[in-house]
Amino acid sequence: MSDPAPGNDPALHIVDLEKRYPTGVEALRGVSLDIEPGQLFGLLGPNGAGKSTLIHCTTGLAQPTGGSIQVFGHDATTGSYAEARQAVGLAPQEPNLDWFLTVAETLDYHAGYFGMPKRERRERTEELLETFSLTEKRDERTRTLSGGMKRRLILARAVMHKPRLLILDEPTAGVDVELRLELWHYVQRINEEGTTILLTTHYLEEAEQLCDRIAFITEGQIVAEGTNEEVAERFGVANLEDAYLALVGRKELSRSHIELGDEVAS
């Protein structure tokens, strides 16, 4: 983990966040969370727990119905959200690329939406095309890319404007091992360089290896938070995977449980 950025404000400061959809579904029920600058923070939980809703509220894609969000001390939910948005980069779960744009245009336009001057955009685009092995695809329309290439481009787009807080919503879902490792190496590198990272993933071993701190969210509430060891201890188990299984009420799927069962059977 890198040294925290200057200033005392947390990278992300969420207080009593609530989100009730017009359908009546309560996706978030009083979530409070602090992520310190420079951390690589894992937000874990089952499908429908509220992870994506929390991310959408932070990035302006959903309007909270209660509570507050601050990004590096800047309010992210009221009318003066510009500085908070400027500080955040989002790689969403679903590929949401603009079909009309080429790969290079996707990066250039994104940086433009964030107010980056032309020369800087051009240099940054070349740098990221190279970093994510997209140079040969630069003039191809995004809809012609393979799933892996789309995933690379989405991550490149998220970091294009040099955000201080990078939010990765299941960034390695459905990608092959090689690409997954490439992406994690990149994420670790920019984290070491000072970028704070909020990560959601279903790959618990990745969260265990990469994250400084973890929070478990279920039914719109944070139920545990701390280091891997602290979270495991909170559930009275040995590791993060067992803690997760305890959270979702499926302890019988624990590897230690299965191994013990095998020994008894033999």
Partner: protein
């Protein structure tokens, strides 16, 4: 350029880039359509129709066609662009940026406005060459055309934001906009209609827009020009404020 200016310029450039990349569909097709109208109603039918209010029939019709080209292209572009981006999820990239609701709304609006402007200008230049189209009141014509273009840009944004499927956009265009334009007097003078149709035509807002543009070109009108300009300005501003409110609330854009 300031960060806000770069943001706005990029958002606007994206909208123009979109329709320029599919220009056979977005510019070629409407131009062909307009020239077909001119051919059919001017060259074919026009030779068999007497002058209308002392004006050659084709000259009477072309101002309405120019207005129709600008308005339908502005509307179609914006409604389609916004709905497509909502479908793809690509609009999230813009919504999660620091861009303000005003910047987003203006950029979306001006994309369609530009497309309508390009089609209208090409049609106008061709008309001046082919049929000697006059421009009698340029100080009425320019604000009238710009207001009409901006009004329909706003209408396109409104429908695009509200739409949940492509059917919604097609419905608005086919069952509302096109009949209003056709029945607004593009191809005829309302004074020629029997009652109650002449009176009913006066309740069609497009009728006033066509008269404004026609007055700008050929100096003929059936309505009060100052009143029509004032009403069109008020309607455009009202629609803009409604859209700004929707963008500020994130209506059907943010969950």
């Amino acid at each position: 350029m300031s960060a806000a200016q770069i943001r706005f310029a990029t958002l606007w450039r994206r909208e123009v880039n979109r329709f320029m990349k599919i220009k056979k569909q977005t510019l070629g097709a409407p131009l062909l359509e307009t020239f077909l109208y001119i051919s059919v109603f001017g060259a074919a039918l026009g030779t068999r129709i007497d002058k209308l209010h002392g004006i050659d029939y084709i000259v009477f019709v072309v101002p309405g066609l120019i207005m129709m080209a600008w308005s339908t292209n502005a509307f179609t572009n914006n409604s389609s662009s916004i709905l497509q981006q909502k479908f793809q999820g690509a609009i999230q990239d813009q919504l999660s940026s620091p861009a303000s609701p005003l910047e987003l709304l203006l950029a979306f609006s001006l994309g369609g406005f530009m497309r309508g402007l390009i089609v209208a200008v090409i049609t106008f230049v061709a008309s001046v060459i082919l049929i000697d189209l006059p421009v009698d009141h340029v100080l009425v014509l320019i604000p009238a055309l710009f207001l009409v273009g901006f009004f329909f840009s706003q209408l396109g944004v409104l429908i695009g934001v509200r739409a949940e499927q492509f059917d919604d956009v097609a419905f608005a265009q086919t069952f509302v906009l096109t009949p209003l334009i056709f029945l607004g007097g593009v191809f005829y003078s309302a004074t020629l209609l029997p009652q109650p149709w002449e009176t009913i035509t006066h309740f069609n807002p497009i009728y006033y827009m066509i008269n404004l543009v026609r007055y700008g070109f050929v100096g003929y009108t059936e309505v009060s020009i100052p009143l029509s300009l004032a009403a069109l300005t008020a309607a455009t501003v009202a629609l803009f404020l409604v859209n700004l409110r929707l963008f500020s609330r994130g209506y059907k854009l943010r969950s």
